[in-house]
Amino acid sequence: MQYSQKVMEHFLNPRNVGEIEDADGVGTCGNPICGDLMTFYINIEPKTDDLHMARIVDIRFKTFGCGAAIAVASMASEMAGGKTLFEVTELTRQDVADALDGLPPVKMHCSNLGVQAIQEAIKDYLQKIGRPDLAKTIQGCPKKSEHNNQ
């Protein structure tokens, strides 16, 4: 198994590492028991429930996981930063994997986590501003059993 240069570059110098105090949204996916855990923190401007208007203006993450997991989090944070919430909900793990010049097939289970954890943070934001109905329409993390089947 060999990682692409892009993966190694993000793994060695991950962007946007850290936490945001009192973030507008926080989302966590994964499970340390499976060897991967990702938490994203996002700030949103303007703070509206219009998914086409609200943008991610700051994004930070923390990751426990393999080289791919760290690279995926870093790349996903770059791809989501500055985008509207609608645009972020359209991101797929394939987009992230492609941006990293591909991931080994055995690494697909952790490549999911990047986009999912950011979407989870968006759900958290929508809940906080009083739109749990909208939050439900966004995918976020899969159920635990699904994760184990991958």
Binding site: M1, Y3, M8, F11, L12, P14, V17, T28, P32, I33, C34, G35, D36, L37, M38, T39, K62, T63, F64, G65, C66, G67, A68, A69, I70, V106, H109, C110, N148
Partner: protein
């Protein structure tokens, strides 16, 4: 390159290579041939057999050359089980190498029951459990001499006593100990033993099964009369000569080498432990191979550690799930009761003949920085 993965494999000692080279061209003959060139090759094979027998205190006719540890393990477990049809239970341990574990699992297809003896948190097998598990239905006990991941050395003499009280064959996978620790199959009560050349500076693809006189076992491969009808196929003459040379070197240098390596290993452990909090030593604190340092680095994942080390030219290995392509971390660490979350952060440094102090100092310098960097990223670290 700083190579600290000797439990995975070792470089071939130049003296071993020199001994082997003539047998590829000048002395290439088949040991079974009747001409003088053949006799010469036969003499080389038998000379190697003597050296190997000497190293583990066996008789020369108790040595069967194989292609390595895996094949020796297969012949022992399958061979003994298939050579009889009364006993239907195989006892092994929860921390065996896959060469034994997968072989035992295969035997369930033929109606054999497999019992895995659990281990304590240090990786020592539970002798009381073993005592309760053995019965007149047990055909073989296969328990390793020392574990490859954590280095824990098992109480072989006690195990053999339990086996022999019930007329059970005792096999041990000694792939990680032959050439590193003194072995005397007679006084340790070992009926069968597997060894592998490439773990002690011999060539890859070489090894042997030692089987005491009187132990009945079926061969795996059928064909010519090689190795007393137990392992058909033209002998790997250069490999066997190299294995013999590796045994001869180990015989004279093992004791000194063990002392030197133990000092370096302990220096490494003390050096990184001083700088890195929340490290867990894997395996038994004393009853452990002198060259093996298995640790769990809490809050980080093993593959990330390996990748960073590799960027610094340092080779090590990990029992993390992410290096194996499965979601489960090492079965050895889990059997020792280490939580999943911690087992994912395992890393193994294994030292050997060519490890130098300067290399250890370099790892002590680099490794804490790597851990620090990954812990900053980790959501599990305490702030």
């Amino acid at each position: 390159m700083i190579y600290l993965d000797y439990n995975a494999t070792t470089p071939t000692d130049p003296r071993v290579l020199d001994a082997m080279l003539p047998y590829f061209q000048a002395r290439f003959a088949n040991p079974s041939s009747i001409h003088r060139a053949g006799h010469e090759a036969r003499r080389a094979v038998e000379k190697a057999r003597e050296k190997l027998a000497h190293l583990v205190v066996a008789r020369v006719d108790e040595v069967y050359f194989t292609s390595g540890g895996t094949e020796a393990d297969n012949i022992a477990v399958k061979g003994v089980a298939f050579a009889q049809n009364k006993r239907k239970k195989i006892i092994t341990s929860a921390i065996e190498h896959h060469a034994v574990l997968t072989t035992c699992e295969y035997m369930t297809k033929f109606g054999f029951e497999v019992v895995k003896v659990p281990v304590d948190p240090h990786g020592i097998i539970d002798l009381n459990f073993l005592e309760d598990a053995v019965d007149d239905n047990t055909v073989i006990i296969s328990i390793m001499h020392a574990n490859n991941e954590v280095g824990t050395v098992e109480p072989i003499t006690e195990i053999s006593k339990i086996a022999h009280r019930h007329g059970i064959v005792f096999h041990t996978d000694a792939v990680q100990t032959v050439g590193k620790l003194p072995i005397d199959i007679e006084s340790m009560g070992i009926d069968m033993l597997s060894l592998s050349g490439h773990k002690f500076c011999g060539p890859k693809g070489t090894g042997a099964l030692i089987a005491r006189t009187g132990i009945r076992f079926d061969p795996l491969s059928h064909g010519g009369h090689h190795e007393h009808n137990k392992r058909a196929g033209t002998e790997n003459v250069p490999g066997i000569v190299g294995l013999g040379k590796a045994c001869e070197i180990a015989m004279t240098e093992m004791a000194e080498e063990e002392k030197r390596i133990r000092l370096l290993r302990d220096k490494l452990w003390n050096g990184i432990r001083e700088k890195i909090p929340d490290l867990i030593l894997n395996g038994h604190p004393e009853k452990r191979l002198a060259n093996t340092l298995g640790i769990c680095v809490r809050y980080v994942e093993g593959e990330s550690l390996l990748l960073h080390l590799d960027m610094h030219g340092i080779c090590a290995s990990s029992g993390s799930a992410c290096t194996s392509g499965s979601l489960e971390p090492s079965h050895v660490l889990l059997a020792m009761g280490i939580p999943h979350e911690t087992a994912h952060g395992s890393i193994r440094f294994s030292l050997g003949r060519y490890t130098e102090e300067a290399e250890i100092l370099e790892v002590i310098r680099v490794f804490p920085k790597i851990v620090e960097k990954l812990r900053v990223i980790s959501p599990l670290s305490k702030k």
